[in-house]
Subunit: 196 residues, 2 copies
């Protein structure tokens, strides 16, 4: 749990004594590729801090198609914030794209850490605001940009994921079909070799 420890101590600035107390509240778990951590309809009772590996959250529409909402690799927290915060059934699934080790964080942990540490509160606040900023950018891209632009933006923002994640998942994240993404890539390859 080195990453999680570092997250608490460095990022959220939790002191050693408080750390010892908090660490008892969380549990560690190894997840196999494909294993499902949250299903639509359930209430999201844990947030998942990714020690290593890769998670994704996604919805499934009436036609059975998946639409990826979020990827989370090392040091990211994957969760359905709304479900966890409001205690409502989630409409997301969360599963593992790779074999993954996670730290399970429940609301008890969050509350206690918030009480103990103002810098944790602060860090949490920043995380929320970042989430909003990120979502807003994504909405704007979905409203205004072509598949190609969205893909280029994705590569730039997540060069690591571009390599680790199968293309059909990237397509799903971008809101296009795998076939379309394949074609977009082909075009981009052409452009980059043709000097003009």
């Amino acid at each position: 749990m080195q990453n999680f420890t570092k997250y608490l101590k460095t990022k959220a600035n939790i002191a050693e004594s408080e750390f010892q107390r908090l660490i008892k509240k969380v549990t560690f778990k190894s997840i196999e590729k494909g294993e499902i951590l949250l299903r639509s309809g359930e209430i999201c009772r844990h947030s998942f801090f990714v020690e290593n590996g890769l998670l994704r959250s996604y919805t499934v529409d009436e036609a059975g198609k998946e639409h990826i909402i979020q990827f989370g690799s090392e040091n990211w927290i994957v969760s359905d914030r709304s479900s966890a915060f409001f205690n409502e059934p989630s409409d997301l699934f969360i599963d593992a794209v790779e074999d993954t080790q996670v730290v399970l964080i429940n609301s008890e942990f969050i509350n206690e850490a918030s009480e103990i540490s103002s810098s944790f509160r602060n860090y949490n606040q920043i995380a929320l605001q970042n989430h909003i900023r990120h979502q807003q950018k994504r909405i704007n891209l979905l409203l205004s940009a072509s598949a190609e632009r969205r893909y280029m933006d994705f590569i730039k923002l997540y060069p690591d994921l571009t390599l680790r994640v199968p293309q059909w998942m990237i397509a799903s994240y971008l809101g296009i079909t795998p076939e379309s993404l394949s074609r977009v890539r082909k075009e981009l390859a052409h452009k980059n070799f043709k000097p003009n």
Copy 2:
């Protein structure tokens, strides 16, 4: 400022004495239809609480097209949260869809209210979480739903706005052209009159 007063006293549960102190921090302003409150590139130094009337926030792409991010009518707060929180230049515009009366809220107000009142902190937290939930739903719709479904969802969620806002703005919010929205509406009208 009845609505704003009610918002502070009832929703955020601010006591009278504290209210008197806080109210000095805000300013009241009447905005004409079309007036611009925030421009892309500026830092968003105020959030706008809508007493009455209607605001919108939107981006403008390279082709000069507007893409509406948010509407805000009575009792809503319109802002670029990211810009305000992180002190970064915004990429949004905010202007008035109707003649509007707003209360200008700056970060000083937020900080002070947060210090004074735990229920204000709490209310603020809920607002953030609601924002995230709302954005996530919108992302999911943009990823998965047709223009028609998105429009129906909009009507259901904002029956009032559907009447007050010109259609081309709704189209912009939905990520389609006004012409497409017109077609969608025509089709919906047909369906509703044909029993089958």
